[in-house]
């Protein structure tokens, strides 16, 4: 989706507000929203790509004015509604009126979350699928404009790059964010020169590296 979140390369967004000795959370509610999002994800209600997409659907004016954890709160509330864990009436009242929605549901235990916080996720292995590209290969990032979730930002579409390294196989976010089907495929780090992206005024030696799924590129 060509949404407001795809903001790389935009001008006039304002200065970077650097806070000295910033706390991890500025207010308690931020930490609760953060933890509830992780715990509901850990319980298997949704996957990361789904919640990323939910955040991308925040109306643009709100996206630019919400604080970081206000975005998370929006996404968590809407995800709970979408997954039928709560009703709108319950969200508004804070009172349980539809207990049947979550009858028998098993919340993520601390042990389960601690495992995920401290252990390596299994790497997706598919021996049937050798990588299509290798380091040094010239590629063109596809000029695609899907209406759904995607992780190919606008600023590299149609640009020429060179594969730097392979990262292994991951699930394509474009389908993973929308309930499948699973599309495991290779991901590569691809280098684009700053001049390829931003024109001849860009510094000659500078470059941009980005991780691209197989479906995001063609051989050059």
């Amino acid at each position: 989706m060509n949404g407001i979140h795809d903001i790389g390369g935009m001008d006039n967004i304002g200065p970077v507000n650097i806070e000295k000795d910033e706390p991890v959370f500025h207010e308690d509610w931020e930490s609760r929203v953060y933890a509830m999002t992780l715990a509901t994800m850990g319980a298997g209600i949704f996957v990361t790509d789904e919640v990323r997409y939910m955040t991308e659907t925040i109306p643009p004016a709100d996206y630019l004015t919400f604080s970081y954890y206000e975005k998370w709160l929006y996404s968590l509330e809407h995800m709970m509604l979408k997954k039928n864990m709560v009703t709108r009436e319950e969200l508004e009242s804070g009172e349980v009126s539809a207990p049947e929605l979550t009858a028998g549901f098993e919340a993520a235990s601390l042990e389960r979350m601690a495992y995920g916080m401290k252990n390596r996720m299994p790497v997706f292995v598919d021996a049937e699928s050798p990588p299509r590209f290798k380091a040094g290969d010239a590629i063109i990032a596809r000029n695609i404009n899907p209406p759904h979730h995607t992780r190919i930002p606008r600023y590299i579409r149609g640009r020429r790059g060179v594969v730097e390294m392979g990262h292994g196989i991951f699930l394509l976010p474009d389908t993973n964010a929308h309930g499948g089907p699973d599309k495991p495929q290779h991901v590569y780090s691809v280098r684009f020169s700053a001049r390829e992206l931003w024109g001849e005024d860009a510094p000659a030696n500078d470059s941009l590296y980005i991780d691209l799924f197989d479906d995001y590129m063609d051989p050059d």
Partner: protein, 200 residues
């Protein structure tokens, strides 16, 4: 209740979060022990001190550094530094010739197990917009002016791979211990918005 009457009234967002937590807890969707444990982990256990220890060790131990640059995911996991948002790691090295900078233009991806949660500026739209378009101008906002001949490499971590910058070891640190070196490795130097220096 007399105590709370002296406090500022709760904001709308505080009330919303309180209502949501009570609702999800009562419905068995989350439990308080899990939430408290998650907050404790990210507020008190992980943070830039972990990355600093890794960097200091890499500065002292060439063999460790070589393994880190070759296969960061395995090398870090072997040390116990892995997990959500840090299972797939790449470490990139800053030198006199190259300066690396990390960003997530599409959201806020960041290597949690080695740096903890990102600061607000990293997640902000100005940082995400500028890092790819004008990294040198962005770095000037952080007080860092790079020579023209230094190549700037920006890493947009838009997939599941997370990046950690191995800062350049400053001159004059040859006699420092690993513990002393850890003290000069800042979070910003591992994101690429700063450098490790002796003047802090």
């Amino acid at each position: 209740m007399t105590e709370s009457s002296h406090r500022a009234p709760l904001s709308d967002v505080q009330l919303r979060v309180r209502a949501l937590e009570s609702l999800l807890t009562e419905k068995g969707v989350v439990n308080r022990e899990t939430l408290d444990g998650i907050v404790d982990h990210y507020e008190n256990k992980v943070g830039p001190h972990i990355g600093a220890a890794i960097v200091a060790r890499a500065w002292m131990d060439p063999e460790f550094k070589a393994r880190l640059l070759e296969d960061a995911s395995t090398t870090l996991a072997d040390q116990g530094y892995t997990g959500i948002e840090g299972s797939h790691m790449v470490v990139v090295e800053n030198t006199d010739a190259v300066h690396n900078l990390t960003v997530c233009t599409l959201c806020s991806c960041y290597p949690w197990p080695v740096l903890g949660l990102p600061p607000n500026w990293y997640k902000s739209t100005p940082y995400r917009a500028k890092a790819v378009r004008d990294p040198r101008g962005l770095l000037r906002e952080f007080g860092l002016e790079l020579p023209e001949e230094t190549a700037v490499r920006v890493w947009d971590s838009n997939a599941e791979i997370r990046y950690l910058v191995l800062p350049k070891r400053p001159e004059g640190t040859e006699n420092m211990s690993e513990a002393e070196l850890q003290e000069i490795v800042t979070r910003d130097s591992m994101v690429g918005t700063g450098q490790a220096t002796l003047e802090q």
